[in-house]
């Protein structure tokens, strides 16, 4: 298969995709929740040439004892990373199952300002019942109810991003007006379980709309820029991708690579003694760097990009960086991000027009 060059994303939460990944990490557990660690992993991903890094999150502990039970909030980590990197896109996972869409909108718009247009958002969900109590809200029970909260939440967040037109700050010395109130809009959003008045308190993000990534069964296709598609084999991924109905699709790929010290099989086997690597229906590559490169090449034309979930960051990131990504870049099977470009530009997505500005222009035309 051939097609346009892939965009590469990597998930960087914790010590890796395996729940026991911390056992093979190159650092002690108490180093995980430090700024040095957060910055170092992000720098490694940026230097390797990834277009986007994602950070998983949730209000509950990421795992259960004896494995990792600590995690710094993804929005805070993303903002910290945005300020210490310059090219890579940064996308925290933020669930809307219980959170306030108004706050989420402000946080992500701020991340886009901070990163000068490199922000993304992976729409997550809080599936565990204990999360409801942490949020002080009634249980959102079942996949359909959670999808309902995500649908309304994403819609409200997106409306808030448009509630300031790009040029709402006019700084008109002649009239003493800092804002043009005609370019600010109440969103007056009404969903199944909440309403939001608006407008936002943060100006429109530099990208117009932060890049929204998510799973198509959780968020309606019309609200997603990038669908994260799963499938255990290429056929399943191709089917999911073709049916996603979103501007872009990224395949979820779990990877464990051979290293100088152990084969991928051995590394997985070692961790499996402690905990299972749960099957989430994703593509999984356990083996050589060349094998992964070949798999990714076959995904060209099937999806627009991939999100890699490395088994152990400290072991797999160096191999990806040394062997896999350079191979793909050299053959133009994947592209590195361009300095100075927004995440939208990297993903070849247009900067969306503002719904309210468009509406205003249209009604202006009609009255003319």
């Amino acid at each position: 298969m051939s097609g346009p060059a892939l965009r590469l994303a990597v998930e960087l939460d914790g010590d890796g995709a395996h729940p026991a990944a911390w056992r093979r990490a190159a650092h002690a557990p108490d180093h995980l929740l430090t700024p040095r660690r957060v910055a170092r992993v992000a720098a490694a991903a940026e230097n390797a040439g990834f277009t986007l890094l994602t950070l998983d999150d949730g209000v509950l502990p990421p795992g259960a004892a004896p494995d990792t039970v600590g995690r710094i909030g993804a929005v805070e980590r993303a903002a910290f990373i945005a300020a210490s990197t310059s090219v890579v896109g940064v996308a925290p996972v933020v669930p809307l199952t219980y959170a306030e869409p108004f706050h989420v909108s402000s946080q992500l718009a701020s991340l886009d300002h901070i990163s000068v247009g490199r922000a993304g958002w992976v729409v997550g969900e809080e599936t565990r019942p204990e999360a409801a109590r942490a949020w002080g809200r009634p249980l959102v029970d079942g996949a359909a109810a959670r999808a309902g909260e995500s649908r309304d939440g994403v819609e409200a967040v997106r409306a808030l991003w448009d509630s300031w037109e790009d040029d709402a700050v006019i700084r008109s010395v002649a009239t003493s007006r800092y804002l043009d109130r005609d370019r600010l809009h109440y969103v007056d959003f009404t969903g199944d379980t909440f309403t939001v008045k608006g407008p936002a308190i943060v100006p429109r993000p530099p990208q117009g709309q932060v890049v929204v990534l998510g799973h198509p069964d959780l968020v309606p296709a019309g609200q997603l820029d990038v669908a994260l598609v799963t499938g255990r084999d290429l056929v399943a991924v191709a089917t999911a991708s073709a049916g996603a109905g979103t501007p872009r699709t990224f395949a979820e790929v779990e990877v464990a690579l051979d290293t100088a010290h152990a084969t991928a099989e051995e590394r997985v086997g070692d961790l499996e003694q402690h905990a299972p690597w749960a099957d989430r229906g994703r593509l999984r590559h356990i083996g050589s760097a060349a094998g992964l490169a070949a798999l990714l090449e076959r995904l060209r034309g099937v999806v627009d990009g991939v999100r890699l979930h490395p088994l152990v960051l400290d072991e797999d990131l160096p191999e990806l960086s040394r062997l896999v990504l350079p191979h793909l870049f050299e053959r133009r099977h994947a592209v590195r991000p361009l300095p100075g470009a927004s995440l939208r530009t990297q993903l070849d997505l247009e900067r969306p027009a503002n719904r309210y500005a468009v509406a205003a222009a249209r009604s202006g035309e009609e009255t003319r």
């Binding site: 911390w22 650092h27 002690a28 557990p29 108490d30 929740l33 430090t34 700024p35 957060v38 209000v59 509950l60 502990p61 990421p62 004892a65 004896p66 494995d67 600590g70 995690r71 710094i72 909030g73 929005v75 805070e76 980590r77 903002a79 910290f80 990373i81 300020a83 210490s84 306030e100 869409p101 706050h103 402000s106 946080q107 701020s110 300002h113 901070i114 000068v116 204990e130 109590r133 942490a134 949020w135 002080g136 709402a168 700050v169 700084r171 010395v173 007006r177 800092y178 804002l179 109130r181 600010l184 909440f194 309403t195 939001v196 008045k197 608006g198 407008p199 308190i201 943060v202 100006p203």
Partner: protein, 468 residues
């Protein structure tokens, strides 16, 4: 002002603490000047924070407002508005600063304790113990329209919720024993068995049963700030806060009276008198001579209080629309309309506008002032004006007499409005021995010379856990 003999003053060794308040919604930041930069560009925040750090400030401070201001149902368009989410912005600044404290104003009414506590912990860890939290309590239904919960909280309940919020937050912050996570790579469990306590809390506002996800930072807990002037607010601070961000920083007697009131409340709450830092918000205007400073102040006020802003302020006082009047003409002849506060300006309307208007009329007549001049002369008096040496003498006097512990400075220009203060005033203060010459600690709690967090003091068990 003459220099005081250090032995004659109540606090000869007192040091002044500075914070910088990068203001959000306000008309005191001059946006019309060519030197005025962006209010949203990350470069502005970075520059202000780094300048403050160069000046050995304790903290960089951000406010919060959860709805755009309106006047009579229309978005207020004269003020600077549009700012980043405070915690998100501060997490970014943690990456580009080393020492300065990072203080977020975050509301207890429109947040949930476990979520906000976790975010604050994250900031505290990412900054290695430099986080602060200014606890505010907006309760109006108008702000609530942006939230799932709506305006569900009675005014009387807002400090009740704030207090329970803090209780839950502190329990979560104390949920991990120090050293809970192993320091050696070959550990058999990621966290020591039993090192993470499940937090169970059942109260009127919160019903929580949760395993906290973060260890304590180098300073134990984020430093707690409080900003609120009512008796309730002051008592809340006396029970809970490490720092009060007050509005009593313009006149010595007023500042001292406030400080003494707060110290009384502190003792009543069972805390040592020196347990709380009082940092009023203030503006500092510096000139090479007194005359130059006054001239600069005049210019600054005219930029801040534009004709339209003067008419807007008068409109709020009179509760009438004066936008078509002449700000440089006389005061309006009409009587003010006494009306209920709808909360929309994010502030209370004036309690007795007839009285205030009568006073304005009298003084305007005596001074021969226009409406705009009256608004400038009689509006809130802000800050300190003088030469670096004069200001340093004054501040030394204030801090040594216990009127303040320092100031939260609001620059009137962004992003280089702090330069004068750092380059000219700070050296004068250092010369008088009332300002640090280097950071001696790494955490915000260190800078403010605070004791350990309140929850760590009651039991010896806690204490031994936190010292390392």
């Amino acid at each position: 002002m003459t220099r005081t003999d250090p032995l004659d003053v109540p606090r000869p060794d007192a040091r002044l603490h500075f914070g910088v308040f990068f203001q959000g919604v306000n008309h005191w930041t001059i946006w019309s000047d060519p030197a005025s930069g962006s209010q949203i560009d990350p470069a502005s925040f970075r520059q202000v924070a780094r300048t403050a750090e160069r000046g050995l400030f304790d903290a960089f401070f951000l406010g919060e407002g959860l709805r755009l201001r309106e006047v009579d149902g229309r978005i207020h368009d004269l003020d600077v508005a549009g700012r980043p989410d405070a915690l998100t912005q501060l997490a970014a600044l943690a990456a580009v600063t080393d020492r300065i404290g990072l203080v977020s104003t975050s509301n207890t009414t429109y947040n949930e304790a476990p979520d906000l506590a976790r975010r604050l912990s994250g900031l505290d860890l990412l900054s290695e113990g430099r986080a602060g939290w200014n606890v505010v309590t907006t309760d109006n239904a108008w702000t609530g329209e942006n939230f799932r919960r709506g305006g569900y909280l009675d005014h009387a309940d807002r400090y009740t919720r704030a207090e329970e919020f803090l209780t839950v937050a502190r329990a979560l912050w104390d949920g991990w024993k120090d050293g809970a996570t192993s320091g050696s790579p070959g550990a058999s469990t990621w966290a020591a068995p039993g090192a993470v306590r499940q937090v169970r809390h059942q109260g009127r506002q919160f019903d929580v049963d949760l395993a906290p996800t973060l260890p304590r930072s180098a300073q134990g807990h984020p430093v707690i700030f409080q900003a609120g002037d009512s008796a309730e607010g002051r008592d809340f601070a006396a029970r809970n806060a490490d720092v009060i961000f007050s509005a009593h920083g313009n006149e010595f007697d007023d500042a001292l009276a406030f400080a003494e009131d707060v110290r009384g409340r502190l003792v009543a709450a069972g805390r040592p008198e020196d347990d709380l830092r009082i940092l009023p918000g203030t503006e500092i205007i510096i000139g090479a001579t007194e005359e130059e400073a006054l001239e600069k102040k005049r210019w600054i006020r005219l930029q801040q209080v534009t004709p339209a802003t003067a008419l807007g302020i008068a409109g709020l006082l009179w509760n009438r629309d004066f936008s078509d009047r002449d700000a440089d003409g006389p005061l309006p002849k009409e009587d003010p309309v006494v009306a209920e506060n709808d909360g929309s300006f994010g502030a209370r309307r004036i309690a007795d506008p007839r009285k205030v208007v009568a006073e304005w009329r009298e003084k305007a007549e005596a001074g021969g002032w226009s409406l705009r001049e009256t608004v400038i002369a009689l509006g809130p008096q802000r800050g300190h004006v003088g030469t670096p040496a004069g200001l340093a003498d004054r501040f030394a006097h204030w801090v040594r007499h216990g009127a303040v512990d320092g100031f939260n400075v609001t620059p009137y220009l962004i992003p280089d409005g702090l330069d004068d203060i750092v380059d000219l005033l700070v050296p004068e203060l250092q010369e008088r021995g009332v300002y640090r010459t280097e950071y001696t600690g790494t955490t915000l709690r260190d800078h403010l010379n605070l004791r350990e967090p309140l929850t760590h003091r009651s039991s010896a068990d806690h204490r031994s856990e936190i010292t390392r």
